[in-house]
């Protein structure tokens, strides 16, 4: 894990800055090209024309106005999850329970919104619901956080178990408590379209994307520019040293978990308030599992993650309709992301080794 901490780009003296940016660009572009080539070979083996597929995905996800808007809409929940993961991963906390936090945030929001609307105006309901999403996500992280902080119990296993638990619990809530009596399939009451997050003027993109971009940037600044963020990074890089430095590691661990899970809960809230308006039983898009690689690809960098999330959203949107049009199911997008991740890791390794030899 220390290898990750080393590779987070630091502040370099002016002259090296440009070289560093060039190097970073090459380290990102080379794996992208390799992944696309390798993916193309797989498509050819399956008897599909890779160029036609890539061209279609690019056109559908990026180059048409409608597709671009869908891409931006999809980015909102992914970015918020990414923000939550960046906080945790930089602090060396492996919060892998995002799916449960996301779903519970979504369910509580969708259950509360119609009730709150009876008494309060939209302008108040939307922020209250977002806060509810944050609180729900954070609550779901309390047990793993305490177990990690007090007893050092590995958070990978506990957060994962809470995620399984949360996924089922979300279904239980929908089926037993929040089931909208007017529907046959179990789902929560639908939020009227007019009461959802306002759309950005002239587009179909809801304003959640603006919230998400602001949150990612704030998180990035918090982690790199504030003493709180730097404390978290110290805990992540070397917990023993953090204790010796007099940091309250237990408290910081709990805070990290709460922020991370809270942001992921917020992501669930925004996806409901912006796009769906309701949660169906057994709905689980598994966004957080998919975002983990993106956060690594961006090396825990907030600005980098915006780029990768945009790229991935476009792939998802393009890949969805390519399934119908080109006959390549959207699963292929998963293969591409995995290839990208693996090639990026290898290129990074080779680069690291080359630099080590140069010294």
């Amino acid at each position: 894990m220390s290898a990750e901490a080393e590779t987070i780009p630091g502040q370099l003296p002016g002259g090296d800055r440009l070289k560093e940016i060039g190097g970073t660009a090459a380290r990102v572009l080379v794996p992208v090209v390799l992944a696309l080539i390798m993916g193309g070979i797989i498509l050819m083996i399956l008897g599909k024309d890779p160029l036609a597929y890539y061209a279609y995905v690019a056109r559908r996800g990026l180059l048409t106005w409608g597709g671009l808007q869908e891409t931006f809409t999809r980015m909102a929940p992914l970015l918020l999850i990414a923000a939550g993961l960046i906080v945790a991963f930089r602090a060396g906390i492996w919060n892998l329970g995002g799916d449960g936090q996301f779903l519970l945030g979504a369910v509580i929001t969708s259950a509360a919104a119609p009730v709150l609307l009876r008494a309060l105006p939209d302008l108040l309901v939307l922020p209250i619901c977002m806060i509810l999403g944050i609180v729900t996500g954070a609550i779901w992280s309390v047990v793993p956080a305490l177990l990690k902080a007090r007893y050092g119990i590995n958070e990978i296993i506990t957060s994962m178990m809470m995620s399984f638990l949360g996924t089922s619990f979300a279904n239980v809530l929908i089926k037993l408590v929040f089931w909208d009596p007017s529907t046959t399939v179990p789902q929560t009451r639908t939020l009227p379209v007019d009461d959802r997050l306002p759309r950005i003027i002239g587009t179909t993109v809801h304003s959640g994307i603006i919230v998400a971009i602001i949150v990612v940037i704030l998180v990035h600044l918090m982690m790199t520019r504030t003493s709180f963020g730097l404390k978290l990074q110290v805990v992540g890089a070397n917990p023993a040293a953090a204790v010796h430095a007099g940091l309250n590691v237990a408290g910081l661990t709990i805070a990290t978990f709460a922020i991370s899970a809270g942001l992921i809960g917020l992501s669930g809230a925004v996806d409901i308030l912006g796009v769906f308006g309701t949660v169906r039983a057994d709905w689980n898009p598994q966004y957080s599992f998919l975002v983990v690689p993106l956060v690594f690809l961006a090396r825990f960098n907030g600005y980098g993650v915006i780029g990768f999330t945009f790229f991935f959203s476009a792939l998802m949107i393009g890949g969805d309709s390519a399934a119908r049009r080109v006959g390549v199911p959207q699963f292929f997008v998963l293969v591409l992301v995995a290839l990208l991740l693996i090639f990026l890791a290898v290129v990074e390794y080779l680069d690291h080794r080359r630099r080590k030899k140069a010294h």
């Binding site: 590995n154 296993i157 178990m161 089922s168 089926k175 690689p293 997008v333 995995a338 390794y349």
Partner: protein, 312 residues
């Protein structure tokens, strides 16, 4: 409710528990080997899926369940070889690569399924059953527990073999050293990287075998994402078992029973959401952790690559 307590119902409940538990057992035992050696194998879900796909495809085309199991194990090993190269040889972060291979093989097997099987959804005949003499004649328990595919008994025997191996063989002690104090193992003249590589490949084989069992025996067919998180439950079991194979067996039995209960209640048309039952094992495990919270026993070098002479 009385209808639930009939003999056929209880028998099918037990039978289902074993069928659901065996893949978890194999995955958990496999993961345990990796964790002992200091490798956190998050990619086990990918290994199970590819094992399930290969196992099903081989069994379908060859007509032999045994060849299918071997194919499944080898399929899991292929995925493990990728993890071995990237994480052990190159020392790249194990969590990144683990999630990477899981996502990649989720996609790849779903893709292969789409092009190969989606049109006519082939399925296998019922798997051969090896009923143990005498004990399988006991009412309820006999047909529930002792009339299964031979792989089930092999998996249970493996628990004993691994217990012995971990405790009393050089291989077992080397594994443990690779996870606890890799530098000491290195100094003793045993290659840490080779020990870990062996561990990861064994994990791949067992996880693939578990996946193949799911496809060939459990479902009789292959479907996208069919392992449904079994690999992750395997990771949980291995971590909770604190290095003891017998605890993996008990954990797998617990999770298998609750999975089987879910299906049984559905069939019986009981009006409790199955999600409640699905929550039970996880809730129980969390509760145990909260009540008996102690420092969990995990190898100190878990998830850190070994670099000779590195003091990190």
């Amino acid at each position: 409710m009385e209808g639930l307590l009939t003999q056929p119902f209880l028998t099918s409940l037990l039978f289902g528990a074993v069928t659901a538990g065996v893949p978890l057992l194999l995955a958990g035992l496999g993961e345990q080997i990796s964790e002992k050696a200091g490798v956190l194998n998050i990619g086990i879900e990918g290994m199970m899926l590819f094992g399930a796909y290969c196992g099903f495809a081989v069994a379908l085309y060859s007509g032999s369940f045994t060849l299918g199991f071997i194919g499944g194990g080898l399929g899991g090993m292929v995925v493990a070889a990728i993890v071995m190269l990237l994480c052990i040889r190159f020392g790249i972060n194990q969590i990144v690569i683990g999630i990477g291979v899981t996502i990649g093989f989720e996609g790849l097997t779903a893709l292969l399924h789409f092009f190969e099987f989606a049109q006519d959804n082939p399925s296998l005949p019922a798997a051969p059953v090896f009923a143990l003499p005498i004990v399988s004649d006991i009412p309820v328990i006999g047909p529930g527990l002792f009339a299964h595919n031979a792989l089930v008994y092999l998996a249970v025997i493996l628990v004993g073999v691994l217990t012995w191996m971990f405790r009393s063989t050089y291989v077992g002690l080397n594994l443990e050293a690779a996870g606890n104090k890799p530098a000491a193992l290195d100094a003793a003249g045993v290659s840490v990287l080779k020990t870990r590589a062996l561990a990861v490949l064994s994990t791949g084989f067992l996880a693939g075998l578990g996946g193949a069992y799911m496809a060939e025996v459990g479902a009789g067919s292959f479907g996208p994402f069919m392992t449904g998180g079994a690999g992750f439950i395997g990771i949980v079991l291995a971590m909770l078992a604190r290095g003891k194979p017998i605890w993996v067996l008990l954990g797998a039995a617990l999770f298998g029973a609750s999975l089987s209960m879910t299906t049984a209640l559905q069939v019986a048309g009981v009006n409790v959401p199955t999600d409640v039952v699905q929550m039970l094992p996880f809730a129980m495990v969390m509760l145990v952790l909260v009540i008996f919270a102690r420092h969990s026993v995990l190898p100190p070098a878990l998830a850190t690559p070994y670099v000779r002479g590195d003091r990190g």
